[in-house]
């Protein structure tokens, strides 16, 4: 009797859980709110759709949560991994710390193709055109002059160890401006749209009233389970936005969801199997709790993220307890006493890049890479793509650390071809502990043809961010965690072992002036020449067509009459 009852209960439980777990596709949504040292607040949304189906086989054509447009793209063009980021603004690593996901200013696209793709360049061109249609971005300007094939910097994030880098394409459009027309199609890919769940907060007028806005789409194949015998596809849509709450909040660092987004959360997306809000409340400077979050969180989550121990307050939107007391969730954070902002922990790895030199003929690009780790040295891969119209002099490449020359252990350099492809420079540089490494390279500015100048050429030409990829040694030991259970913001980049974590940083994009001709000059020349020709023509015409005949002396001209009046006055006979 007892056994039967237990079995019945088990059956009922299974039946209740059945429809949810039987689904081949799962949606998880997550919002991470982290107060930044300088008083800004970073909000990172992640929406992850995981689909237990093999998109590559081509047989799959029935979509539920996974957006059909992207699924068909992956199947039709033989894509193994796709990463697209559209960013407005620049993440200040030095003051804001290590970002969960950074992207360079403008548009960034990098794609791994399947080995079955024969003409990678054609597929890449087609893909960028289709993506520009889907996301209303000018990705169709991606062509061979801004596409590179890095050899070491970009490894596949999903299944499969990509060694054949000929299947990889990478391009950055630093001039791309991101605005609402890019956000709307991005929101449309979410199963719940912006009608329910965390996406309710994505209100364009607030998101673009911020210091940093970055939206991204990541598609990759992942293991279906621990045994990894079958492939699942994962779509991650991420959106990071940084609000300057210090400036907008009258000098106070307090913030709330409503003040940032002018909305509050009322429910979870009914299709999501997980919907959580994490608030970073880890104490800075090892002092006591300075922060106070309301409503009190139901649970706390502790993790080592990017080499730091962090504490998060967790709000589970799917738990019925959350909306018992109030109809909506408006997370608020107050600082209990003014924080001394003098002591900011600098991140272990950060970089800075600038262009120097004077005149319009030559210049120099300098990159400073900082390793502030007290006792560990680590290598970093630097990827530099420079457009062809800046002609790099590779013999001037110098890498200096602590006054001594630092020889890179790996260099891959692909020289540019005019109007065909950009420079690609990849280096593996060892950064000693507590050091600054300065990399300089000189360049010459090329003269463009007059049709090659963009509109407003005096604004300057952008050079895309350089990319730093490194395995940074952690100060605190990290535990191996189950990727499927841990929060989304910790699980995009796989950590190789417990002692280090992966960091990818982007430096500032550069703005370089090129010698620019006066574009109105041809028209000025035409005008001037035409006027001269016309004047000459007019006088010749008059000479040729007028008949000249001697004029009979009549009463004379004005001068003669004046002279006669004067003569009359003087009593002299008139002329």
């Amino acid at each position: 009797g007892g056994m039967a009852a237990v079995a019945l209960v088990l059956l009922l439980l299974l039946a209740a859980a059945g429809p949810v777990w039987a689904r081949p596709d799962v949606l998880r949504e997550e919002l991470l709110l982290s107060p930044l040292p300088a008083g800004d607040v970073a909000a990172t949304f992640q929406f992850r759709t995981r689909w237990d189906a093999d998109l590559q086989r081509g047989a799959v054509s029935h979509y539920r949560l996974f957006p059909k447009a992207l699924g068909r793209l992956v199947a039709a063009l033989g894509i193994r991994e796709l990463h697209l980021a559209l960013t407005q603004g620049f993440w200040r690593t030095r003051t804001w710390g290590q970002p969960p996901l950074q992207a360079p200013a403008g548009a960034e696209l990098w794609v791994w193709f399947q080995p079955t793709v024969t003409d990678v360049d054609k597929a890449w061109k087609e893909l960028s055109n289709i993506l520009s249609g889907i996301f209303c971005a000018s990705l169709n300007f991606i062509d061979s002059t801004n596409t590179v094939t890095p050899t070491a910097s970009f490894k596949p994030l999903g299944l499969g160890n990509g060694t054949d880098h000929h299947l990889l394409r990478y391009a950055v459009l630093p001039r791309e401006v991101v605005c609402t027309e890019n956000l709307t199609p991005w929101k449309k890919l979410l199963p719940c749209g912006s009608k329910a769940g965390l996406a309710v907060l994505l209100k364009a007028e607030r998101l673009f009233h911020s210091s940093y806005h970055s939206q991204a789409v990541h598609i990759r194949p992942i293991c279906r389970d621990a045994s990894c015998l079958a492939v699942s596809w994962e779509l991650r849509q991420t959106l990071t936005v940084v609000f300057d709450s210090f400036a907008s909040g009258q000098g106070k660092k307090d913030w709330s969801l409503f003040r940032m987004f002018s909305r509050t959360l009322t429910d979870a997306c009914p299709l999501a199997s997980q919907s959580k809000v994490y608030v970073d409340i880890s104490p800075k400077n090892k002092e006591k709790e300075l922060l106070e979050v309301t409503p009190p969180p139901a649970s706390l989550y502790e993790a080592v993220v990017q080499g730091e121990k962090r504490t998060y307050a967790v709000y589970d939107l799917l738990s019925p307890l959350l909306f018992n007391t109030s109809r909506s969730l408006n997370v608020q954070l107050k600082w209990t006493r003014p924080q001394d902002s003098s002591e900011l922990p600098t991140p272990v790895l950060h970089a800075h890049r600038y262009v120097s030199g004077y005149g319009l003929q030559t210049g120099e690009i300098s990159t400073l890479i900082y390793n502030t780790h007290p006792y560990r040295a680590f290598p970093v891969i630097l990827l530099e793509t420079v457009p062809w119209y800046l002609r790099l002099y590779v013999h001037t490449l110098t890498i200096i650390t602590k006054g001594k020359e630092n020889k890179p252990s790996y260099i891959h350099y692909q020289p540019a071809q005019d109007r065909r492809r950009p420079h690609l420079l990849e280096m593996l540089i060892q950064l000693p502990a507590n050091s600054v490494t300065k990399i300089t390279i000189q360049f010459e500015r090329a003269l463009l043809k007059w049709t090659e100048y963009p509109p407003d050429p005096n604004h300057g030409f952008y050079v895309g961010s350089s990319v730093l990829s490194a395995l940074v040694p952690s100060i605190i030991a990290m535990k191996e965690v189950d990727m499927e259970q841990s929060p989304l913001f910790t699980s995009l980049f796989p950590s190789s072992d417990g002692s280090s974590y992966f960091v990818r940083l982007y430096t500032e994009p550069l703005l370089v002036n090129l010698p620019t001709p006066d574009f109105s000059m041809p028209y000025n020349v035409i005008c001037l020449t035409c006027t001269v020709v016309a004047v000459c023509y007019g006088s010749f015409y008059n000479l040729l067509t007028r008949t000249f005949h001697v004029e009979e002396p009549s009463r004379g001209g004005l001068a003669k009459r004046l002279a006669n009046i004067i003569r009359k006055l003087r009593g002299v006979p008139p002329l």
Partner: protein, 495 residues
């Protein structure tokens, strides 16, 4: 210019040969018919008819109990040439055909006809039959509709999809209220079971790809009206045009191919708006609760039974009855391809096409119409290309564009020649090639007319030259005019 030749075989069963036959069997006969389309174009349809009597095998087949069985038995005895027709004439008193039915159209390319009282009756029946099974003047006019002024065509002709090399069929399940309903549909099985056989048959006409998606929070553009009497919500006919637009924004375009998309939407109304019914023009609810939009697709409203007990647990789990849905969608698919079975005389009986959803002769009808439409498309494409060249004199035609144009012209000509010879299949293939080549030539990126500097702007640049040069010329012209006037005034002074 068009000549369409249909090979027809008229086979007389014993005892059905009319007495007033002009010649003894077997003999050949050709009938021509002029179909006027517009002032310039006219289509000649030519029926090459072979009259013969049945063979022994056919005789046995015609002794079957019912028309269906006879049709099945006769099928292997015919040549399976596309576009050809075989008509079996049975005696007036034959029991093969039910009472009151004089013509039976089978699943394949054959039909059974009662002999009738004389040759005249038989002829008129044959003529009607051949038109139904191949093409009518209206179907030809619809295919050539680019050259036909509006208003001459009925709404039916505008409904048909344009001929294309491929079509994408998208089934979308719209669930605007996922909090109340979790809707599941076994679309994969339904497509394999009901749609795929039809598409396999149609694969001769075009390439098809099928996919499906579920869209949440996708709402119709109009709020339905509440009807107190039936306590239901109603969508009236005049509001239906406003339904599609907001939904279409969510459907997503087919980014990966250029083929036209056929959308079939299954709409599960939100709980606060259900049950929802579509009204026809007279205000009566439409029995299928569905409507279709010409050249776009169809929408069906699928109502969920609301639970009687108020304590029902939400979300409600709904499993869609795919048989009901697919019946509607397949009927709409046939309508979109112009395969409606309307306007038939009452004495006609059609065999239902069965699982394949499409009889062989219906496929032929489609091929006739699409071949003609393809040729018309090629001619308009090449004409507009020629017009573009006339407008911009210094446009550069590259060799590959030129060769595409030559190929398009020669393929179109061979398609027309094959139509005149009665080879429908090869004519269709040639017309497809012609369309591909002509589109490729027309959409070649080097032919963008914005690439060429317009002449009027060249004049604008040289205005600083022309204006000062013109001033002395105009002045002296004025002077000449003045002088001639003065000379006319005082002609005597000159003497």
């Amino acid at each position: 210019q068009f000549q369409l030749t249909v090979p027809v075989a008229v086979v007389f069963a014993p005892g059905s040969v009319p007495g007033d036959l002009p010649r003894p069997l077997p003999f050949r006969d050709v009938q021509e018919m002029e179909i006027p389309v517009n002032l310039r174009t006219s289509v000649t349809s030519r029926y090459e008819t072979v009259y013969r009597s049945t063979t022994a095998q056919e005789n046995i087949a015609l002794h079957a109990a019912t028309a269906q069985e006879a049709d099945a038995a006769l099928h292997p005895l015919q040549d399976a040439l596309l576009g050809s027709l075989t008509v079996y004439v049975v005696s007036e008193t034959s029991s093969l055909l039910p009472q009151g039915i004089n013509v039976y159209v089978g699943k394949h390319r054959s039909a059974l006809v009662r002999a009738g009282s004389g040759l005249a009756t038989l002829h008129s029946r044959l003529q009607q039959l051949t038109q139904v099974m191949s093409f009518t003047s209206s179907s030809i006019a619809a295919a050539l509709s680019d050259g036909v002024p509006d208003g001459q065509l009925g709404p039916d002709a505008r409904r048909h999809l344009k001929s294309s090399l491929g079509y994408e069929i998208t089934f979308s399940l719209l669930n605007p209220d996922p909090k109340s309903h979790t809707v599941d549909w076994d679309i994969e099985d339904a497509v394999n079971r009901y749609v795929q056989p039809v598409l396999d048959k149609l694969s001769l006409v075009a390439n098809f790809s099928v996919d499906s998606q579920i869209l949440y929070y996708a709402v119709l553009g109009v709020t339905p009206r509440f009807d107190k009497e039936s306590s239901s919500f109603l969508l009236s006919t005049h509001s239906l045009p406003h339904v599609i637009n907001p939904v279409e924004a969510r459907l997503g375009s087919s980014a990966t191919s250029l083929y036209p998309v056929l959308n079939f939407l299954l709409y599960v109304p939100e709980r606060s708006h259900s049950p929802l019914y579509i009204q026809d023009k007279d205000g009566a609810p439409v029995s299928t609760n569905a409507f279709h939009s010409p050249r776009w697709g169809g929408i069906m409203v699928y109502n969920v039974e609301t639970p009687t007990s108020p304590q029902a647990l939400f979300p409600l789990h709904v499993e869609v009855d795919m048989v009901r849905v697919m019946e509607v969608f397949l009927a709409q698919l046939r309508l979109l391809f112009g395969l409606s079975r309307e306007e038939l005389p009452t004495e006609f009986l059609m065999e239902s096409p069965g699982n394949e959803g499409l009889a062989d002769w219906e496929l032929d009808r489609l091929l006739w119409a699409h071949t003609i439409e393809n040729i018309a498309t090629v001619s308009t494409t090449l004409t507009s290309l020629a017009q573009l060249l006339d407008k911009i004199g210094n446009i550069v035609i590259k060799d590959d564009v030129a060769s595409e144009v030559y190929r398009a012209v020669s393929s179109a000509q061979s398609a027309m020649a094959k139509l005149a010879a009665g080879h429908l299949h090869s004519a269709f293939q040639a017309s497809k090639e012609a369309v591909t080549s002509s589109e490729r030539a027309f959409f070649d990126p080097s032919l963008l007319h914005l690439l060429y500097f317009p002449d009027d702007q060249k004049f604008a640049i040289y205005i600083p030259l022309f204006l000062p040069v013109a001033v002395p010329i105009l002045l002296s012209l004025a002077k000449i005019v003045r002088e001639t006037k003065q000379r006319k005034k005082e002609p005597t002074k000159m003497d």
